[in-house]
Symmetry: C2
Subunit: 264 residues, 2 copies
DNA sequence: GCATACCCGG
DNA sequence: CCGGGTATGC
């Protein structure tokens, strides 16, 4: 079973990349972030025609997350929104239980964590609070037996090796010690960084800024992650970054990251 | 010698239509309106590569006019701006004397007349004042011997026969009696409506609004005109509307109109 | 740089 | 409807 996370930076603009990706990579589950559209505007028909069930949590202009689940896998227990703050209106979390005839079930979340910049604004405390809410929820998800995959754009660079130029990110919300500590606290709950567990090499990036020729200079960072519960980590067989998509015309600034789990 | 007028509604957006038009129709002089760009942003290199000299009067976002003159015709006495109001900053008038080895010279202007709507705003008096300034300047141009062609988007529907549904335009600045009288006053100075002189038929339109399916319903109007001085009218051999360009992808709402003059 | 949104002008 | 502009988020 292959599970992909991809911040598409507008589903409408990226549909010409998403549909061929679905056809060629045939992932079983896709976690999308930054849809930048309301639910009614999601190109549901096209994605369903590609063989996927669609669950979205959209909003106007910003954020927006979705889960695509390849038929005949079954989707249940869909949760929209991360618990812990009933005031939080931002569309950043969707979760579902996915099961199929030939595989053990997996609970999967598509997460778009707050960027957190500028650090001296309310955006940074919001980010840290979101990470803490996620930790508490992630802990709760370990209570039942099912494998859990928390996939998304975490907007956290876990280690210096996850940035081409870590110095440049020193005082950025994506790399500040508190952000990284909150990410490690997630791991400390018993979750495994799926890509890092499979590939210890430096220079593994998932995001290259549109500006300043970052892609051309390979000035990337690794901020899109799939965190696996122990039951999921036990099934981990491979992980990879679909870097080529950054080279297409009108690309997202993020590329897909995929983990492969054994049937169980 | 063929002279074309075309309101391109953004030269940048319409370059993919203009360049094939230049190659296929090979007009000798092209009068463009609504460039919607500053002079530095005009795609000069591409148009020069197509074999044309370029004279522009651009401004930011709105208006903007240009003259394209096919080599080896020579351009002289370029005038930017219509005389009569030193306060007028809008880029709506450019004029030049064009001469060649095998043809009598022609003085040509590319004109983008104010729309004038809403009628109850200063825009309507500005339109009428512009028409009056144009009449006085056009009169002066008759003083020397050269043929004159005043071509552009006049934003005037001269007669009911020049609109598919004249009733719909009854109280519009393009069809109000004062606008039409000002246009007739230009003709009264001795100028000839080139297209009308060649083709007396109804249903000859040069503009179809983007809205309300006007193109699909052929709800057009004739507002792009080439006015010929007596010396130019004597040389008039043909006139036509290049209607097919309205059917292309991402068209201008106006189409080119072309007159052919004998060498003299 | 590349996406939104909203405004103006036609 | 379809250009352009500005502002904002990342």
């Amino acid at each position: 079973m292959r599970i992909t996370t991809w911040n598409v930076n507008s589903i409408k603009q990226r549909l010409p990349h998403l549909l061929p990706f679905l056809d060629e990579a045939r992932p079983d589950i896709v976690c999308l972030q930054e849809l930048k559209c309301q639910d009614e505007a999601f190109p549901r028909a096209e994605v369903e025609a590609a063989g996927y069930a669609v669950e979205t949590l959209g909003q106007k202009a910003y954020n927006g997350v979705a889960l695509l689940v390849r038929k005949p896998l079954a989707v249940a227990e869909v949760r929209r929104g991360l618990p812990g703050d009933s005031e939080d209106e931002q569309a950043r979390y969707i979760e579902a239980l996915v099961s199929g005839p030939e595989t053990q079930p997996v609970r999967v979340a598509s997460i778009y964590l707050p960027n957190g910049n500028p650090v001296a604004s309310p955006k940074y405390p919001y980010k840290l609070a979101f990470l803490e809410r996620l930790r508490l929820h992630a802990r709760g998800l370990l209570d039942d037996e099912t494998a859990v995959v928390l996939a998304g754009d975490y907007n956290v660079i876990p280690e210096p090796a996850d940035a081409a130029d870590p110095e440049a990110w020193r005082s950025d919300a994506l790399f500040l010690p508190q952000s990284r500590a909150a990410f490690r606290a997630l791991l400390a709950e018993g979750y495994t960084d799926g890509l890092r567990a499979c590939d210890p090499r430096d220079g593994l990036y998932t995001f290259w800024d549109y500006q300043a020729g970052c892609w051309q200079r390979n000035a990337g960072i690794r901020i899109d992650h799939l965190l696996l519960s122990p039951q999921a980590a036990d099934r981990l067989v491979a992980a990879s970054v679909q870097k080529h998509l950054r080279g297409l015309d009108k690309p997202s600034d993020h590329v897909p990251v995929t983990v492969e789990l054994s049937a169980g």
